[in-house]
């Protein structure tokens, strides 16, 4: 998977309450959730974001609540991949489970500016800042996560496991 898009930057500790405020969680309709994505931290984000764009953030992206509505809102808003210095653990699980590509790459996250063009190669584990002419190595996923991603997410992984006889 290779993604190329325009960067939208955010700082550290971006919490799920600003990714999708709880007042909108009386639904799980993806389009409705996406229309409020990042509303409390950047009210113009949903107007600016274009299909394929890339979110770049600092440490601990997605901290706070376990709401899977957060990766759903980000994906449905058009974002192709999130690059961050680190991710909060529940968001990390949710993103993998939902099929939102995420990349841990502190150096790329630190260097990127709003409007930069980024090229992210998930398989090769590289993040290239095309605007600045710099290339970074992303942290590789552990083998188990690579397997989950390869099989199309946790649900498909477990369905095939259960179909094969149920037991692990």
């Amino acid at each position: 998977m290779i993604f190329e898009g325009t960067v939208h930057t955010f700082g550290r500790d971006v919490d799920t309450d600003v990714i999708i405020p709880a007042r909108y969680l009386n639904t799980n309709d993806p389009d409705e959730l996406a229309s409020h994505c990042m509303e409390d931290i950047d009210a113009e984000f949903v107007k600016r974001v274009k299909k394929g764009d890339i979110i770049v953030a600092g440490e601990n992206f997605g901290c706070g609540s376990s709401r899977e509505h957060a990766p759903v809102a980000i994906m449905t808003a058009g974002v192709s991949v999130v690059v961050a210095a680190s991710f909060a653990r529940i968001f990390y699980r949710n993103a993998i489970n939902r099929g939102l590509p995420i990349v841990v790459c502190p150096a790329a996250a630190k260097g990127a500016k709003p409007g930069d063009r980024l090229r992210v190669d998930i398989a090769a584990g590289t993040v290239e800042n095309l605007t600045q002419g710099k290339k970074y190595a992303a942290e590789p996923f552990p083998p188990f996560m690579q397997e989950l991603i390869k099989r199309g997410g946790l649900m498909k992984y477990v369905k095939s496991k259960l179909a094969a006889g149920g037991k692990v």
């Binding site: 709880a22 609540s65 899977e68 653990r89 188990f144 997410g153 692990v168």
Partner: protein
């Protein structure tokens, strides 16, 4: 091989002699929990995947608590989806308004969690049950949906950080002050992916309620779990539970080995921990309560999954007894469960709080996440015993949340600004003296 309590529980669950941090295991789930925010999304995924049965209806718990009593038509629809799902799949542990509680107050109270259990919940504060020496952690909707079908969860064995609280805390200093102070020391990602193990003399002396509060907020430091070893306090609490979860504890792993490996050991002088407040907009943004007396407030919330147990409400009542909530302040009490309501009604706590001018709510997460029952207007400030003070968390994006203990919240409600019980007592004795002086 020496191991931490978290490693021992996970090894036992995975059927292995030992596990090491970083290892991925697939563990059977003793209890899986969801609520009215994460549940409907999980149920949609479960049905979309075509599953026709759940692995064990007795091990699934559904608690609509966030937007209940249903705050609007959409919320009512989400809860109805959960109710229909419960009926369809034979899940008896679906808790209706009037017989429910805030999930993390309710499950331990009912005796549904035992030491050594693996509990996952589609709610980030599922880490609360570590106070009972269980390994419990928050997950998302898909993880929960998968657990309902599979009965297992994949977990990365976490490194552990051992926190040692030496000595005993000062007057009015509670588990809430400990955990806020600790998050202030290590930051909101200071325990990212790790288990936070709470030990030391102050933890041994702490009530089970205080331990629930501490484990509840492990997630606010990025922790995967908060955990306290099993001791006489745990045993006494479990023995008093209606479903007798203590019966499942025999032979379970209950404590860390003394020579276990930790990623870090952090030693804290309990006596030096102040009454602590987390300022906007991060739980790690801590300061002593007495340094914030110039901060005027509009609302106080006392309760929630963090501080909504009977001990918490009694602490608030201890400060508010015979006093009044400041004219500029709305004080809202959020009891954790129906049982807490009943106990507070029987022992006079509810009457004390109502006489002081507090609103006594039904159990709900409502105001904590800016859902309903106490949403903040633009620019308003709230002192809250809840767990998060992110931007817009309790209402308007320009509102502010200060996290504190029930003692500090109650004192602040009286003062109209952030205050400690001592400041309130001093102000009262000053007024009395002035009053006497005036009569002379």
């Amino acid at each position: 091989m020496a191991a931490t309590i978290a490693e021992k529980i996970l090894a036992a669950a995975a059927g292995e002699a030992a596990v090491r941090p970083g290892q991925i295991i697939e563990a059977p789930v003793d209890l899986a929990l969801t609520n009215d925010i994460t549940g409907p999304l999980a149920m949609a995924e479960f049905e979309k995947a075509g599953f026709d049965r759940v692995f064990d209806p007795q091990k699934i718990v559904l608690v609509p608590d966030h937007f209940t009593p249903n705050k609007d038509v959409k919320s009512a629809g989400q809860v109805k989806k959960m109710r229909d799902f419960a009926h369809k799949f034979g899940i008896e542990q679906f808790f209706e308004v009037g017989r429910m509680g805030i999930e993390h107050a309710l499950l331990p109270e009912l005796g549904l969690v035992a030491p050594g259990d693996i509990v996952i919940g589609a709610d980030s504060h599922t880490c609360t049950y570590g106070a009972l020496a269980a390994f419990s952690t928050g997950v998302g909707s898909t993880d929960f949906a998968v657990a309902m079908a599979w009965g297992h969860v994949w977990l990365r064995v976490p490194e552990s950080i051992r926190f040692v609280y030496h000595g005993l805390p000062g007057r009015y200093v509670t588990g809430k002050d400990f955990i806020l102070d600790t998050i202030g020391r290590i930051g909101v990602d200071g325990a990212l992916y790790k288990a936070m193990e709470f030990t030391g003399e102050a933890i041994e002396a702490m009530s089970i309620e205080g331990r629930f509060t501490m484990c509840n907020m492990a997630i606010e430091a990025g922790g995967k779990a908060g955990i306290v070893g099993h001791d006489a306090t745990t045993a006494a609490y479990l023995a008093s539970r209606p479903k007798g979860s203590h019966a499942r504890t025999s032979g379970r792993v209950l404590a860390s080995d003394p020579d276990a490996d930790y990623a870090e050991v952090i030693e804290i002088d309990a006596a030096a921990v102040p009454l602590t407040v987390s300022k906007p907009h991060l739980p790690a943004n801590t300061a002593p309560a007495e340094d914030l007396a110039s901060t005027t407030i509009d609302q106080v919330v006392i309760g929630s999954c963090t501080n909504g147990r009977l001990e918490d409400l009694r602490q608030a009542a201890e400060i508010l007894r015979g006093r009044s909530v400041h004219p500029n302040v709305r004080a809202i009490i959020l009891p954790g469960t129906q049982q807490v309501c009943l106990d507070a009604a029987k022992d006079g706590t509810m009457q004390t709080l109502i006489e002081a001018g507090c609103a006594f709510s039904t159990p709900t997460c409502g105001p904590c996440l800016g859902g309903h029952m106490g949403v903040l207007a633009a620019g308003e400030r709230c002192v809250s015993t809840t767990n998060r003070n992110f931007v817009g968390r309790m209402g308007d994006v320009t509102s502010e949340v200060y996290l504190a203990s029930p003692y500090v919240a109650a004192a602040s409600a009286i003062a109209g600004h952030i205050a400690t019980p001592r400041m309130v007592a001093k102000a009262a004795s000053g007024k009395t003296a002035a009053g006497r002086g005036g009569r002379r």
